[in-house]
Symmetry: C2
Subunit: 323 residues, 2 copies
């Protein structure tokens, strides 16, 4: 039956088969199948974020399986919740794929959603979805979180004197992208790095931990360490100063792959996106939680948004329009 | 400046200009510009629904302006909240358009979102968005509502003996689509009907009113009266019996356009979608609120899901995959 296509089964039945593979959580008062879902919270606020991925702009169907795309769609969105200090509780997923898409691909996509929830956000579930046909595949996810009585951690709260710290990996997803682009055998030799591009694993549980610990600002690094640091700098009216010596550990694990591709590992660390690690600022060392590594300090506002070893560094990174 | 394109301005600046045109409401604790938004509710549950529209499947850029599409994206989604009995409070919008799209088009899109909120859902605002480039335009909206201590009205609660009633219009959007497809001068002669296709105006305020009045089941009519009635019938394990004599008023206002196109007005009423009116069931006449028109009764489950004047009628209507 799973060899049938979307066009053969129609929307309702295809959606039923896909959504039917997903597990619900206790927070879901009304799940998929009605006009809307109803979700419970611990309080009378909710956190919401949305992000989309488009074929040939954000992914290629010959690189990413349905499972990979389901996994990544969850990972990138729950990272935005974590970056506010929120616990993920519910997602809705809009998917448009070609009419010829096999139901088995849709099932793999649903399994990727499920696996990412199990690994990254076990308190969350998919509560609704929308399925349509489109020549190019399109995935839009909206994710919802619960702040559990905490104040949200904004981008605008960093203060001079704060420490700058990273939770999660830097540069692995960019290395994975370079390996995929290189074609050939390099991507098999470094399949662990490729997997960070296809199925990023941001440290979601560190978001609420950082909020509890008194993080003054936080975001998830989607475009690049430097570009996202510049966003905190801009919104907090400060300068983010990074020490390259604190990044050596991130670069070291990429060196072999960089050598193979004639690339610079430190470039991936500074200017590569899509690991979706957390970049946060904390008032002092005692407040930096386990799982975060200090990489710099917050300086008073000056002409530079971001500095590396005391010199200005340009905020290069991914732009979803210009690439 | 608005003659610049998306590619010339990039994502952040284009998004800023678009989102900047939208007005925030009191419920928005953290609005656009951070990783996520934070929205307040009257209680610790929220209602959520998502729906997408794809160029050349759900709309044509030569028929719909940016304003029309923004308006319709809001209308179709808040109708799904109303159908649960919820008050709309917040939306997030994912938009993908060609890189060559003028910023003025994006501004018109934002103005369409705004106008629909003003007219249909003045308690709601856009709290976040995502902008990307894509060869074919894609719009995905997720809408959030507040049940304000009411039980959600599901599709599964209709009981034999209940009255079946419609809030809003039937067949106008389908007539509008037929007029657009006919080309030529007919569409100018009936531009009021065309406007129901391009900018549907569902009676959002009637959703919470129906819930307060004790509606036992409700949904918004997106695919067709008969097809959506069959959904209530299926989920409530009943038969929905409709009287054609109660539909005459809906057909009458379409007769002139039907004559012009050699079409049947009653077909638009029964099998046309996209007006997004509310179809609800109520225990008795006293409970049917002003704004709803009784069109039939709920019968015990039998071999027919939907009957017209006592005979089975096929659940024809729109399917977002097969058309």
């Amino acid at each position: 039956m799973s060899d049938k296509t979307l066009a053969e089964l129609g929307e309702s039945e295809s959606l039923r088969r896909t959504i039917g593979r997903l597990v619900s959580s206790d927070a879901v008062l009304v799940g998929p199948g009605d006009d809307s879902a109803v979700v419970s919270l611990s309080e009378n606020r909710f956190v919401v974020t949305t992000d989309s991925m488009i074929e040939d702009h954000d992914f290629r169907l010959d690189w990413s399986s349905g499972f990979d795309l389901g996994f990544k769609a969850v990972a990138t969105n729950v990272a935005d919740l974590a970056a506010m200090g929120a616990k993920p509780i519910a997602l809705v997923v809009s998917l448009a794929v070609s009419k010829d898409t096999k139901i088995s691909w849709l099932e793999a996509f649903a399994d990727g959603l499920s696996q990412a929830l199990v690994e990254l956000a076990p308190t969350a579930s998919v509560v609704g979805g929308d399925l349509a046909s489109s020549d190019k595949a399109f995935i839009a996810v909206t994710a919802h979180g619960d702040l559990e009585s905490k104040a949200p951690v904004l981008r605008s709260g960093a203060k001079p004197g704060d420490l700058v710290a990273v939770g999660g990996t830097l540069g692995k997803a960019a290395a994975g992208l370079a390996l995929l682009r290189s074609g050939g055998s390099a991507k098999e030799a470094f399949d662990d790095l490729v997997s960070f591009q296809l199925r990023p694993r941001p440290p979601i549980e560190l978001g609420p931990v950082a909020a509890e610990s008194g993080a003054t600002a936080m975001l998830d690094i989607s475009d690049s360490l430097v570009k996202d640091a510049s966003r905190i700098a801009e919104q907090s009216q400060v300068c983010i100063s990074i020490n390259s010596s604190d990044l050596i550990g991130f670069a070291a694990v990429l060196e072999q792959a960089a050598l193979r591709l004639n690339a610079q590992a430190m470039d991936w660390v500074l200017f590569g996106g899509e690991d979706h690690g957390l970049l946060a600022t904390f008032p002092n060392t005692n407040q930096v939680p386990k799982g975060f590594k200090v990489i710099g300090t917050v300086k008073p506002k000056n002409q530079d948004l971001v500095q590396l070893d005391g010199s200005a560094i340009e905020a290069r990174g991914w732009d979803s329009i210009t690439g």
